[in-house]
Structures are given as structure tokens and as C-alpha cells.
Symmetry: C2
Subunit: 325 residues, 2 copies
């Protein structure tokens, strides 16, 4: 993994992915006590950053392999990214999804052209084993959600844009808070920033009780969460950082942060009120940390990556009802 892979992924994405805006609001600056810049990846194609990695990985396959199709396992955002990127390439896709994923994500994945296979996350079924078995039987290429170099390279293109956009705002030294599941986005951004904006430092943000990345960085070795479900931040409830992503993060990232479910919902309400964007809980934890953990961040500005917006209407209404009054 190096910056050349990320730049190559950016070249393949051009004209297919979106350069998402870096947003801000004086109201958010006041809450945080410093400038807050929000990278709105909820506005990415399919509603999350995952399209970047999906497109990067599929477009990097050799044509004969790609033509047979791809398979992925995902709680929903990687699923939608793969389904749409596969459709745009004109190839079949199979997505293995937990049966308790938000219905919107399951429906969208099907509507974007994928065949969806459900598994029971609470019963401990192993999505890797399921995915690999189907891949072998049908000759599909498995595209892992984070521990895959071309996926990390694709997510890293977010970091290239952050480096340019922050510089245009006069920000060259700041923490870059990143919603973190398996670490694909965090490690990709960390690699891009190291090369392009060394004064910007990536830091993972997770839900309280699911802070495997933060504990792994603190311990210097991969740590695992006790639970694998039971939190509204469904998009980022991975058991542990990846074997590829962890060493990248360990060498480059600042300490991790964790926020509560209510803080995630409150950040969603503030993003609605002040930025006019829709965030899902797992996509709002970085903004929540920027707003509600000011003492844990240094510097005059902070950058938060708002990584996705695929939330069911009922949960969004709850966030507004409780925190946007």
C-alpha cells in the first residue's frame, strides 16, 4: 500500500464517483469551540464512501475475472457500493448481508441489481465462510469490505480530497476524525494524508462499547469487541480492525475516540439543522466527537468525515424528535 495506489484509484474513479463538499456552519463552530469542517461522504454515490472502494476494487480486476462477477459481505453500505459499481460495469454481484441490517439498505442493494443472501449475525453465523463458499461455487471474486488493498486505496481517495479542500480553507494542521469500522476508510485516509497533508492526522471514532480500533491502537495489537450487535451504529460494528488496516493505522493515526448512541443521534440532528445533510448513526460518530469531545482534540480546527447517510426514516425522525426541537 502506498500513495501511488491511491492516486491510481482516484484516476479510475474520476467521472464515476463524486468529489464531495467540505461543509461548515458557524453554529457548529460555536458548539465545538473551534472551526469544524465536515467531509460530506453521505453525498457520495450510493450514500456512503463505500462506493469509492467498491469501484476501485472492481475496476482494478482484469476484465476476464471481472466478467464472472463479484461477491461481498456487508451490513449495508459496502453492499450498496458493490451492487451499484458492479451494475455500472455490467457484471453480476451477490451480497451476503445480516438479516437484521436496516431494511432500507437491504432493499436498496437488491434494487441496485445485486442478488442478496441473508445470514443471522446474532446467531454467530460466519459471513466470511458463507461468502467464500458461494464465491468458490460460482467463480465470483470476493471483495472484502476493508481488508483488501484496492478497497483501502479507493477509500483513501477521500483523504486526497480532504488534503486539497482543507488547504483551500487555510487548514494545514488538524485532527481528521473518521468513523471507523474495520478501518478501511481510516487507514486509506491516513495513507493519503501522510503523503499529501502531513500536518493533518487521522483518528478513528467508534461507538462506546465497540471501540476495538481505539483499544487496538492503545495496546499496539489487534483487540476484539465483546459484542457484535446491539448498537444503532450498525455500519461500523466490526469485531476488530483488519490485518491490513491495523498496521497502517498503528503507524499513522492518533488515539481513537468513542461516543454514545445519544451523541450520535444528536450529531445527526445538528447535521440536519446546520448542514442540511442526512447522516446515519454510524456516519455521524466523527462529527459527534468533533462537537462533544472538544477537550480530546487539539488545534484551531477539526475535520470530521461524515461517512454515510443510509438511515431508515423512523430512526431519523427519532433523532429529530429528541434533539432538533
Amino acid at each position: 500500500m502506498d500513495i501511488a495506489m491511491i492516486e491510481a484509484a482516484a484516476g479510475r474513479l474520476k467521472g464515476h464517483g463524486r468529489v464531495t463538499p467540505l461543509l461548515s456552519s458557524p453554529f457548529l463552530d460555536e458548539i465545538a469551540g473551534r472551526r469544524v469542517l465536515v467531509k460530506a461522504e453521505c453525498l457520495q454515490v450510493t450514500g456512503s464512501f463505500k462506493f469509492r472502494g467498491a469501484w476501485s476494487a472492481i475496476s482494478a480486476l482484469d476484465p476476464a475475472t471481472r466478467a464472472k462477477g463479484v461477491i461481498a459481505y456487508s451490513s449495508g453500505n459496502h453492499a450498496q457500493g458493490i451492487a451499484h459499481a458492479a451494475s455500472l460495469h455490467g457484471i453480476p454481484s451477490v451480497i451476503v448481508m445480516p438479516a437484521d441490517a436496516p431494511r432500507l439498505k437491504i432493499d436498496n442493494t437488491r434494487a441496485l441489481g445485486a442478488e442478496v443472501v441473508l445470514y443471522d449475525r446474532a446467531a454467530g453465523e460466519d459471513r466470511d465462510a458463507i461468502g467464500q463458499a458461494i464465491a468458490a461455487a460460482r467463480g465470483l471474486t470476493l471483495i472484502k469490505p476493508f481488508d483488501e488493498p484496492q478497497v483501502i486505496a479507493g477509500q483513501g481517495t477521500t483523504g486526497l480530497e480532504i488534503a486539497d479542500q482543507a488547504a483551500a480553507e487555510g487548514v494545514t494542521e488538524a485532527d481528521v476524525l473518521v468513523c471507523c469500522g474495520g478501518g478501511g476508510l481510516t487507514s486509506g485516509i491516513a495513507l493519503a494524508l501522510e503523503a499529501r497533508a502531513p500536518g493533518l492526522r487521522a483518528r478513528p471514532v467508534e461507538p462506546e462499547g465497540f471501540d476495538d480500533a481505539a483499544r487496538s491502537l492503545a495496546a499496539g495489537s489487534i483487540q476484539t469487541n465483546n459484542r457484535q450487535s446491539g448498537n444503532i451504529c450498525d455500519a461500523i460494528l466490526t469485531p476488530s480492525p483488519g490485518r491490513l488496516t491495523f498496521p497502517i493505522m498503528a503507524a499513522r493515526c492518533g488515539p481513537g475516540l468513542a461516543v454514545s448512541e445519544d451523541e450520535a443521534l444528536r450529531a445527526m440532528a445538528l447535521a440536519f439543522l446546520r448542514l442540511k445533510i442526512v447522516l446515519e448513526p454510524g456516519g455521524s460518530v466523527a462529527l459527534a466527537a468533533a462537537l462533544f469531545r472538544p477537550e480530546a482534540v487539539a488545534g484551531e480546527a477539526v475535520i470530521a468525515v461524515a461517512s454515510g447517510g443510509n438511515v431508515d426514516a423512523d430512526l431519523f425522525r427519532e433523532a429529530l424528535g429528541r434533539f432538533a426541537g
Copy 2:
């Protein structure tokens, strides 16, 4: 009014306003039966396109005049644009607002640094007369919400961006549907497109029962609405097109369109689900027309300007509860 004024306004806005993205979703394309490109002006500074015209007008004043301060009358979005642009210039602002404007808009206008004076829209109080009296007494410059050349020039910068962004998407012939109140945004975009993208044609979209622009274009002379309130699209309930904006529109725009309140709410719900942006009712009528009036639009693609997102949480929750299930 000419393209040079709009280009000059774009130069003054650079580094202060935002280049908002042109968004799309395969789900919206399917509903409309053609490609739908959405210019997300809800992501503009202060949550609506109005910041463009406000900044353009204030930045065009001579420094001595500007230093005395500005005054505006507005149902809310022009108010916030003027308040914030004035604060950034370090000058005082007074905003005359209807007492029944959404509370969020009144609160935000005050928080952005303006002195707010309320008037009773339903009782027929004349906001022009109120504004002009205060302006004369305090030496403030009145900045009208639409019938002011530098405001039209500022709103027209939206059209410059649409021309470039649509060309990048391969779209050079299409209707550009614009949420229309007094016609500042519609006329500014029409001027910009005439010069930069002659295959794109601006068309105003209004709420049913408040379609003064559509009827004025059809009649060839300025027509007035019977009612001035009583519709959720508060941002665009002006009595008639302006004396400056109407002739600009009459010479360049296609026929107007009108949508119902429920169609506006449904477009808000679809923008939430498919684009991850927050729209207010008055900012969603153009998208509603693109989605629900396909027979009234010609061509393989349609562009809708989503002009603002300053909506109270309760109304947004209602839109999701009814149309995002």
C-alpha cells in the same frame, strides 16, 4: 443586467460562497423516466441560494455606504443570507420578517447577528414600507430580496455552475426547473444559461394557487396571487414576479409549472432517501415537478434546483412519516 455582472458577482463570491454539487440517484431517474440532476443549493452557506445574492449586493456597495449597514425584508432565507454576509463584512444589519415565518429562520437570523423586526403578513402590513422607513431613519441601505440587479447577479452564479456541471455530465440540452418566488433565482439562472449553455432552458416552478410567475409568463404581463399566505412553501409565496425579474424571465424562460403541497413533501422525503440532503417545502417544488410532472418536461435529462433546506424539524418529520415509509 448582463453576463458580465454575473461573472463579476462570481468573482466576489469566490472563497466565501460554495460551489454546490450536482447530485443524482438511479432511484430518482427511474421515477422521472429520465436522468434527474439536482443542484443542491440547500448546501449553500446559510442553507439556501440566498447567500449568493446577499453577498453579491453587500460586496458591491461602496465602502462608506456599506459601513453604515444594510436592511432587508424576507420570509427567512434572504434574511439569513443578508445577516451572515453582513456579519462577515463586519457591518450591522436589520431584517424585517413576517411574524409567521418558521421559527428556525427567525432564530437563525438573530443568531447570525441581525436585529430582527417582525410584521404581520396576514393583516396585510406592507413590508416594503416598513423596511424603507427604517432604512431612511438609520441611513441603512435596503437590499431587496429579488428586484435588485446585484442580487439577481449573485443568484445567477448558480447558473454559471449549472452550465459547467451539466456539461461535465454530458448534458447540454435540458429544462432547468427553478423554485420561484419573486424570480431572482430564476431570472439570474436564465441570464447565465443564455450566455453559457444556450441548450439549457430555465423554467419557474411554484406551489399550486401561488403560480403568479407561470400565469405572468403565459399572459405576457405581471399577474398577482389572490392569497399571500396559507401554504407550506413559505420561502416562495411572493405576490407577483418583480419589475426587473419578470422581463428577464419573459424573454428567456419556458412555461412555468406548479405542484401541490403533498408533492413538495414527497419530494422532500425522496431527497432524504435518495440524495441525503435536507430540503424545505419551497426548496423542493422544482424536484417535485421533475419527478411528478414528467409529461410536462421534454428531453432525456432534467435539472432541478433544490434551492433551500431551512425547514423546522416537525414539518420534516411529517414529510418522512407520510412519504418515506
